[in-house]
């Protein structure tokens, strides 16, 4: 009896749980996801995790090497930068900037993209033409150059970076949502909802959106890795979050002055970017494989 119930329960398992199980069955994706969560945890609890104040300068510790090299000490285990600040603590605080900007840009851009894509794909007509033309024009700019030009205009700083990246980033989810909506529009369940007298708003948000959400989420996670690299690139050029706030890109840039005598100043923050971006990329590939039926066996 209980066997039968168990079987029915498995068959009725929600797609979300089934996909999640599929995702967790890949060891590499799971490991990558754990790494991402470690970074997020580090960012949230930075004041508790960081052994030192990230902005505390100590000229006696200027360019102190990592602990395994002569002259280093365990308390400052990744060494110190040109102002004697603890590199490990700055990396932990830098995670806040990267992850905060990554999440904000993706959240805002995806929300805008969903609304614009639904409107263009479902309402068609002049709404579609206007949105699609705008998308075409924005696609005419290389991403980094657009962001650099915008920041050159509005000035650097946390809010402005988010703004500069959102301006172009929404185009990606918008295109995905528009395509999916165009396809969904012709499917029976939408026709049924229309026949029952459902309003456009109801059909777009309650009928179509839940059904097209998984490709959008998958694309967003992939884009997140890209946004983090872009933010780091802007910071590297000096157009990002301004000093003394620690951001990974500007830490790498600072280290350029000490290439000869202190390789660790640039190396470790860059390694942090690589590990986080790589983890997000691997995890999002796992997500895609698990959530996209095309990849199911």
């Amino acid at each position: 009896m209980s066997d039968v119930i168990g079987k029915v329960a498995v068959e009725n398992e929600s797609p979300l749980r089934r996909n999640l199980k599929l995702f967790l069955s890949s060891r590499l994706s799971t490991l990558a996801a754990i790494f991402v969560f470690v970074f997020v945890g580090m960012a949230i609890f930075a004041p508790f995790v960081a052994p030192h104040d990230p902005n505390e300068t100590d000229l006696f510790r200027r360019l102190q090497p990592p602990w395994w090299i002569e002259g280093g000490e365990l308390a400052y285990f990744l060494g110190c930068d040109g102002l004697g600040r603890d590199i490990f603590s700055r990396i932990i605080y830098g995670a806040r900037i990267s992850i905060f900007i990554g999440l904000s840009v993706i959240t805002v851009a995806t929300s805008i993209g969903i609304v614009a894509g639904l409107a263009a794909g479902y309402l068609r007509g002049w709404v579609d033409i206007t949105i699609s033309r705008l998308v075409d024009i924005l696609l005419g700019f290389p991403y980094l150059i657009f962001a650099i030009a915008l920041i050159a205009m509005i000035g650097p700083g946390l809010q402005n970076i988010i703004l500069a990246l959102v301006y172009k980033e929404w185009v990606v989810p918008c295109r995905v949502v528009r395509g999916e909506t165009l396809a969904a529009r012709e499917v029976e369940y939408v026709e049924a909802a229309r026949a029952l007298g459902g309003s456009s708003r109801h059909i777009m948000l309650r009928e179509i959106l839940p059904n097209i959400l998984s490709p959008v989420i998958v694309v967003s996670t992939i884009r997140m890795a890209n946004v983090i690299i872009l933010e780091a690139s802007l910071s590297f050029l000096g157009l990002g979050v301004q000093p003394p706030t620690a951001s990974w890109g500007s830490m790498v840039a600072d280290g350029r002055s000490f290439m000869l005598e202190a390789w660790w100043v640039s190396t470790f923050p860059g390694l942090a970017i690589l590990v986080l971006v790589l983890s997000i990329n691997v995890a999002s590939q796992g997500l895609r494989d698990a959530f996209d039926p095309k990849f199911h066996d």
Partner: protein
Amino acid sequence: MNFGKLIERLAQLIPVLLGVTAIVFFMMALTPGDPVEIMIGDQPISEEQEASLRHDMGLDLPPVQRFFKFLGNAVTGNFGLSFFHRRPVIDVIAERLPATIELSLVSLLLALITSIPLGVLAAVKKNTIFDRISTVGSLFGVSLPGFWFGILLLMLFAVHLHILPVSGRIGYAYEVDAVTHLLLIDSLIAGRLDTFFNALSHLFLPALTLGLPMAAILMRVTRTSMLEVLSQDYIIFAEAKGINRTSILIRHALKNALIPTVTVAALETGSLLGGNMIVETVFGWPGLGRLVVESIFVRNYPLVQAAVLFYAITYVFLNFFADILYTVLNPRVKL
């Protein structure tokens, strides 16, 4: 593909180009800060002089009129004076462009000659250890921040091993007559091998940094399309006929598998434009990307405006070219 369709597709570019120009114009027009004040700086100047400067620059006109003036000037390549260089913007850009073109072309070449053989090998040796390594390698390639990778290369090869130069495009002792303004080609034309190798040694690390992410992407594309082609009936038929494996791979499979690779390469060439800014900054490469970054810091807006517009137009045409290329190579796709 017929000629009429091509014209139609070209015509579709016009609204995009107009839109791009409008965005660039209004981006700059809405910038806080008065260009005249930036240009004057600390120099003593009378009010009449200031007014006449404003008039000369067309800044006394209403914005919409200014846009059409800008558009007209842009078509003729007149972007005004660079505040910083006191010379026409277009001349300053033209001077820096060859270095950027040379770097981009060599990166593209480097990416193609590494990614295609590796992609084919990964497909042929599917699910072996080589395939796994190449998968991990390409994931690394797309996840590497270019500016950091460039600095690591510099630290290793230039600072510690002293094998390659730290920055610049060519050593001071070398000079060559400008024909194409691409140093590698000019030095070959002049028959100066020493200059050629010196230029190449300067070019190698920046090109590697810029080309790596592209190689990673192209390798994946080649692997996927090669796998698809290898499962087609005509390949199985060729195998059944007893044609040798290498010949099948190269003459039958690769020819078709390269269609997506070439298209993606054309598309990705556009993304090299953005990467140029970073790589040129890291390696002190005297190209357009570095010029733009420097101009932003000295608020040399006419130059930034012209360069951004130039990048965008190039990008639009590269995408258009990729589209066309895809149709030409793959007759089944209709434009």
